[in-house]
C-alpha cells in the first residue's frame, strides 16, 4: 500500500514538474519556414524567410484570396542573431525543421559560404535534406519574394522543379545540405550548386497579380551549375558542361539530347538509363582517371531521312552519340582543369585507389589536377526506336 502511494506521488510530482515546459509547441504556435535566403549587406547578414500561412494553403478554405506565404526579413551580425530578430516581426517563432530550400545570394557565395553553413548545420532544429541553390546575378531575398501558382508555396515550387528537372533534364543537380558540406570539407572534390534566377520585374512578382495572369510575368527558373573553389563561388558552367558534370558524377537519371544526321536534320535520343564509373590509378607516380559511361537510349524524334529498321543505322547513331558525349565530357574536364577546380571528385577517387600517393599530393592537388590524365570511355546503346518505324519526313517525300 505504502509503496503504491509513494509511486503515485512520485508520478504526479514528475508529471507536474515536467509537463508543459519541455519543447511543447502546438501546431498553431509554429511559423513553418519553408525557405531561407541568405544575403550579405555590408558586414551584416540579411536573412529572408518564407513562412507558410497554413489557413491559406489548406483545401478546405475555398478562398485562396491571399498569398499562402509571408516573407520575414532581418539583419544581424550573425545568421542566428538575424533569425532570432525575426520574432520582432513574426507573431510565432520560426520553425525550420521543414525547410525545403536554402537560397544563397551570389554576392555571399562569392565571399564564402562556410559561415552561413555552420549555423544551419549546427542548429538542432534543422534537417539536412533540403536543397541548396545559388541566386544567379541577384540577391536571395528577391528569389523568395516571387509568387507561384501551380505549387502555391514558392519554396515547394522550387523544390519540386529542381527535383523534376534533375530527374528528367540532366543539367541541374539537387544538392542537399549534407552533400554540400561533405563536398566542401573534402580535399578531393569541390562543390557545385544549381543556380536559380528570377525572370521579370520584382514589383509584379511579389504581388498576387503575378499569379493571376495566364502567363505570369515574373517567374523562377533554374540555370546551370555554379562552381565553388573552397567555399567561394568562382564561376558558372554552361548547359553542356553541367550535363557532362552529371554524367561523370553518375547523376543522370534521364535526359534528352540531339544528334546530327549524316544528310542533314536531327535525331533526338532520350537517355533512359545512364551509369558511369570513375577509376583512379597511379602509374609510376602519375595519377590517371578513367571515366566509363554507359547509357541506354531510345530514339524519341527522327527528323531526317534515315531508316531506323536497319541495324547499321542504329550502329551509326550509337557511334555519333558516343563521340558527341565523349567530346562533351572531355571538353568539360579540360575546362575544369584550366580553372584548377576538381568538381568531379577525381581526387577522392585517387585517394581511394592509392591513399599513400594521395597523402603526398592532397595539399597541392589542384596543381596535380591540372596535369591529370583523363581517359573517357563512352558506350551508348540504342535499344528502342519508338512506336513508328520510318520518320514522317521520309514518308512524305516518298
Amino acid at each position: 500500500m505504502k509503496k503504491w502511494v509513494l509511486f503515485f506521488c512520485m508520478l504526479t510530482i514528475v508529471l507536474l514538474l515536467l509537463s508543459g515546459c519541455w519543447n511543447r509547441r502546438e501546431l498553431n504556435e509554429l511559423a513553418i519556414a519553408m525557405a531561407y535566403g541568405f544575403d550579405k549587406e555590408g558586414d551584416q547578414y540579411l536573412v529572408t524567410t518564407q513562412v507558410v500561412v497554413p489557413s491559406e494553403v489548406a483545401s478546405k478554405t475555398t478562398g485562396g484570396n491571399l498569398i499562402p506565404v509571408v516573407v520575414y526579413q532581418a539583419k544581424g551580425a550573425t545568421l542566428f542573431e538575424a533569425i532570432r530578430k525575426m520574432t520582432l516581426l513574426s507573431p510565432r517563432k520560426i520553425y525550420a525543421s521543414h525547410l525545403r530550400m536554402l537560397v544563397i545570394g551570389e554576392e555571399l557565395a562569392k565571399e564564402g559560404i562556410s559561415e552561413a553553413l555552420d549555423f544551419i548545420s549546427r542548429d538542432h532544429e534543422n534537417r539536412t535534406d533540403f536543397f541548396v541553390t545559388v541566386a544567379r546575378n541577384q540577391k536571395a531575398e528577391d528569389i523568395l519574394k516571387v509568387t507561384t501558382i501551380l505549387e502555391k508555396i514558392p519554396a515547394n515550387q522550387m523544390y519540386q522543379a529542381l527535383q523534376t528537372s534533375a530527374d528528367a533534364w540532366a543539367p541541374s543537380a539537387h544538392i542537399t545540405l549534407d552533400q554540400l558540406i561533405a563536398d566542401l570539407i573534402s580535399k578531393g572534390k569541390e562543390a557545385v550548386l544549381t543556380g536559380i534566377e528570377k525572370e521579370g520585374p520584382l514589383k509584379v512578382g511579389e504581388s498576387k497579380d503575378n499569379v493571376q495572369k495566364i502567363d505570369p510575368p515574373t517567374r523562377l527558373t533554374y540555370t546551370t551549375l555554379a562552381v565553388f573553389k573552397g567555399d567561394r563561388l568562382v564561376g558558372w558552367l554552361t548547359e553542356n558542361e553541367s550535363k557532362a558534370y552529371n554524367y561523370i558524377h553518375n547523376d543522370v537519371k534521364s535526359t534528352v539530347g540531339h544528334l546530327p544526321c549524316t544528310n542533314g536534320g536531327k535525331v533526338t535520343v532520350e537517355v533512359i538509363r545512364s551509369k558511369s564509373k570513375l577509376k583512379g590509378k597511379v602509374i609510376n607516380g602519375i595519377p590517371q582517371i578513367e571515366i566509363d559511361v554507359r547509357t541506354e537510349d531510345s530514339v524519341g524524334e527522327a527528323n531526317c531521312e534515315i531508316d531506323l529498321t536497319k541495324t547499321e543505322t542504329i550502329e551509326h547513331l550509337e557511334k555519333t552519340a558516343e563521340k558527341g558525349l565523349k567530346d562533351m565530357i572531355t571538353k568539360t574536364v579540360a575546362e575544369a582543369q584550366k580553372y584548377k577546380v576538381d568538381i568531379f571528385g577525381f581526387g577522392e577517387e585517387i585517394n581511394r585507389s592509392n591513399p599513400d600517393y594521395w597523402k603526398k599530393v592532397k595539399d597541392h592537388w589542384d596543381q596535380e589536377f591540372e596535369k591529370l590524365e583523363v581517359k573517357v570511355n563512352v558506350d551508348v546503346n540504342i535499344l528502342r526506336v519508338g512506336t513508328t518505324k520510318y520518320p514522317i519526313m521520309k514518308l512524305i517525300k516518298e
Binding site: 508529471l15 502546438e26 501546431l27 513553418i32 497554413p54 478546405k60
Partner: protein
Amino acid sequence: MGLFTKIRKKLTGASSASAQNQNYLKPDPLHPTLQENIQKIKETLGNSTDLMIRKIQIGKNRKYRIGIFYIDGLVDNKTIQKDIMKSLLTEILGTEVEEKISRDPLPLLKESILSVGSLKDIGDYGTFFSSLLSGETVLLVDGCEQGLALSTVGGEQRAITEPVTQTVVRGPQNAFTENIHTNVSLVRRIIKDPNLWMETRTIGRVTQTKVSVMYLKGIADEKVVEEVRQRLDHIDIDGILESGYIEELIQDNTYSPFPTVYNSERPDVIASELLEGRIAILVDGTPFVLVVPAIFVQFFQSAEDYYQRADFGLIRILRYVALALALLGPSFYVAITTFHQEMLPTTLLISLAAQREGVPFPAFIEALIMETTFELLREAGVRMPRPVGQAVSIVGALVIGQAAVEAGLVSAAMVIVVSVTAIANFTFPSFNIGISIRLLRFGLMFIAASFGLFGITVGLIAIVLHLCSLKSFGVPYLSPMAPFILSDQKDAIIRLPRWALFTRSKTTHPRNLVRQQPPQKAKPKPPKGEGS
C-alpha cells in the same frame, strides 16, 4: 491492503449480526405435527403471500393428513396437479396401496405413488427452505419428522435467443439464458462425453445461487480444477447476482486493467474452451459463463475465426492493428503534433496546422474533449431507454461530427483520430478487453501530452511489463508469447488450417495434448489415380 483489513475489522460485528438473522438455515429438525410445522414455516417466511399450502387427507378413512408447500410462480403448476395431487387424491383410491399406506406412508409415497421425476428426503428446516425457495414442492406428513422435496421447478423464463454481445456471421446462433439448467444442457448437447464432469455448489448466503464448475476430466489440469474449487469455496458473500461477482472474487489480480477471467454467452465458445482444457464456471441467473485460465490473445479471438476458412484467421492481425489504434491513436496524435512536428511529412504538417488555426485549446485538451464526448455518447447509448435512442445518436453525430469543427472548438483531424479510435475499439470480440484499452488510452494521452513519444514508449514498456507479470490461475497471461511456446503460435496471432492444429494449446497444461491425427494424415488429399 491495510485499509481494507481495517474496514473489515470495523464491520465484523455487523456482519456476524446479519448472520444471526439467517438462523433458519440451521439444521433444526422438523416437528412431528403438521400444524406445528405450518405455523413455523409461515412465521419464518413472514406470512408471505406467495407461499402456497395445501392440506389434504389420504389413506383409508382419510387417515393421514399431508401438507403440500410450494412457492407460487417458481413451480410448474401442471406437474403439481397431474403428478402430485392427482396421484395422491384420485389414483390410489380403493387400491392395495391405500391399504398399505396406513402403516408407513413415506416410503410408499416415494416408491409407489408420486410420479414426479426426482425427489429427495428432507429432515430439517434448512433443507426445507432451500428446496422450497428453489422451486421444489415439499410434502410433509402429519406425524412424521421427515418430508419429501419434489422437483417441480418451472415457471416463466426467457427462451434461448441469439447472442447479443458476440455475434458471428457463420456459426451457431444460440446463446445462454439466465437459467443454469438450460445453460448446462446447451453445453451437454455439444459435448456428449461422459468425461464432461460438473460439480455444483451454492454460493451466496441470501441468494443461494447455484454455481457449477464444468471441465473435461482427463484434459483439464486437475491442479487448476482444485484451485477453482478452493477459490469458490472461499467466497462468503450475501448474494451473487451475476458471474461478474464470481469473477471479481476469484481473479488473480484486482489492481490490473486487464481481465484475467474470460467470459462468453456462446455455448460453442464454452465447449471449445472446455476442449482446450479450460474450466467453465456457470452461474445461475446470467447468460455469461466464466472461463479460466484466460490468456491475453484469447480476448482477440472470435468464434468465427474457427468457422470460416483458415485464411479468415488473418483477420486477427487486423484486431491487433485495432488494438494499436485504440490504445495509441489520440496519444500518438498529441505527441507528434505538439512535440515532434519534424516527423510529419511537410504537406501533412501544413494541412494539420491549417486545421488547427483558430482552435483555442492545446491538442491534448482538444483530444480530451473529444474523447470524453465520445465516451459520454457511448455510455448514453448503452444506458438510455430504447425509444430515445435515435434522438441521442443524431445529436451525437452532429455534435461530434460537424458542429464542434465548425464552431472551431476542435480540429477536423482530431475528430478523425477519435472516430478511428472509437471504431477500432469496437472491433474486439470481447467487450471487457475494450474497457481496459479505453482506460489505458487516457493514461497514455496524459503521458503523451507531457513527455511526447518518449512518454508513450515508457508507457508501453510499463504496460508490457505489467502484462508479463500477470497470471491467470497459474498460467502466464502473455503466453504463448511470453513464455514463448512455438507449437501454440499456430493458433495465437493467426490461425493455421484445421489439419495443422493437431495438438491442444500447451498454455493451459492440458493432460492430453492430442487433438487429432497428425497433419500428414489429416491434410485432405485428392483421390488417387485421378489425372490432374
